[in-house]
């Protein structure tokens, strides 16, 4: 019963918050209307997204997002240093193949997005069968290290959250 009224609780929360931010004021009226939108839109669109993955551990997802935010800050400083102080000759750009243990498309999308936003790596492609990511590293002494780092730091956590 509850799952039919609330097919996607996270989407409901996000829609309600986004509405309040769009209106740009927090009054009872806006919050109520935001919650109404948050209830109606997931029900209306449920048919188009039948296999939505249940987020097993929402609290861990918040922790993950905070960690990624911090990594983005660090990434920016690292990339700025590389851009400003390293000559093109000394740079070692490299392709890295990351074999995936994640299987849900949503989790892989999250991983690819995280890789793009964090230190010196951009995700470029996914293999045809969805079992490996192609990542480009801006300056990698040791591509294997980059791969292990991504698997340890991000994929393991995402696997806990989604699967």
């Amino acid at each position: 019963m509850l799952s039919r009224l609330l097919p996607h609780p996270m989407l409901t929360a996000i829609l309600a918050i986004a509405w309040c931010l769009l209106v740009n004021e927090i009054k009872l009226g806006t919050v109520v209307f935001g919650v109404m939108l948050g209830l109606l839109i997931p029900i209306a669109t449920a048919a188009y997204w039948p296999d939505r993955p249940p987020v097993a551990k929402p609290v861990k997802l918040v922790g993950y997002l905070v960690m990624v935010m911090w990594d983005i800050l660090v990434a920016n400083v690292v990339v700025a240093m590389i851009v400003l102080f390293k000559s093109n000759k000394n740079m070692r750009p490299a392709w890295v193949v990351i074999p995936l243990e994640l299987r849900t498309p949503e989790a892989i999308t999250m991983l690819a997005g995280t890789i793009t936003l964090t230190p010196g790596t951009v995700s470029a492609d996914v293999s045809e069968d969805g079992k490996a990511l192609l990542v480009h590293a801006l300056d990698a002494e040791n591509p294997d290290e980059v791969r292990d780092d991504i698997k340890q730091r991000y994929e393991r956590r995402l696997k806990e959250i989604f699967e």
């Binding site: 983005i72 851009v83 400003l84 997005g113 951009v122 995700s123 492609d125 996914v126 293999s127 192609l134």
Partner: protein
């Protein structure tokens, strides 16, 4: 700005300088780096933090001077969600241009990368 208290003013100025610096570095990287895939790194990252701190400055200014505005949070959220997608599309175009050069690793187990898929 003259009616702002000192502390918010200092924070706002610092954020504006940081934002300007990282946006500048992003643009420098775009010119300086020598191949297309490396160039992708500068704008996808440096500009995220650059625009992020400019928006943060705008938000603090609105709270310090008048009623306050939270639109910037939404701008930031959409920016963080869309930056990887832009990066991915540019990378994909570049993969088509390179078309499986020798230094690009092949996909594991007899598959090709999604961009080259014939399916």
């Amino acid at each position: 700005m003259s009616d702002l208290p000192l502390i918010p003013e200092i924070i706002i100025s610092a954020l504006l300088i940081v934002g300007g610096f990282f946006t500048l570095v992003g643009s420098i990287g775009l010119i300086k780096l020598d191949n297309c895939m490396s160039r992708l790194h500068a704008p996808t990252k440096a500009s995220t933090l650059g625009v992020g701190s400019l928006l943060m400055a705008a938000m603090i200014y609105s709270f310090a001077s008048e009623t306050g505005s939270l639109h910037e949070v939404l701008v930031m959220a959409f920016l963080f969600v869309t930056a990887p997608i832009t990066g991915h599309l540019i990378a994909k175009v570049n993969l088509h241009r390179l078309h499986q050069t020798k230094d690009m690793p092949p996909a594991p187990s007899d598959h090709v990368w999604g961009t080259y898929s014939e399916k």
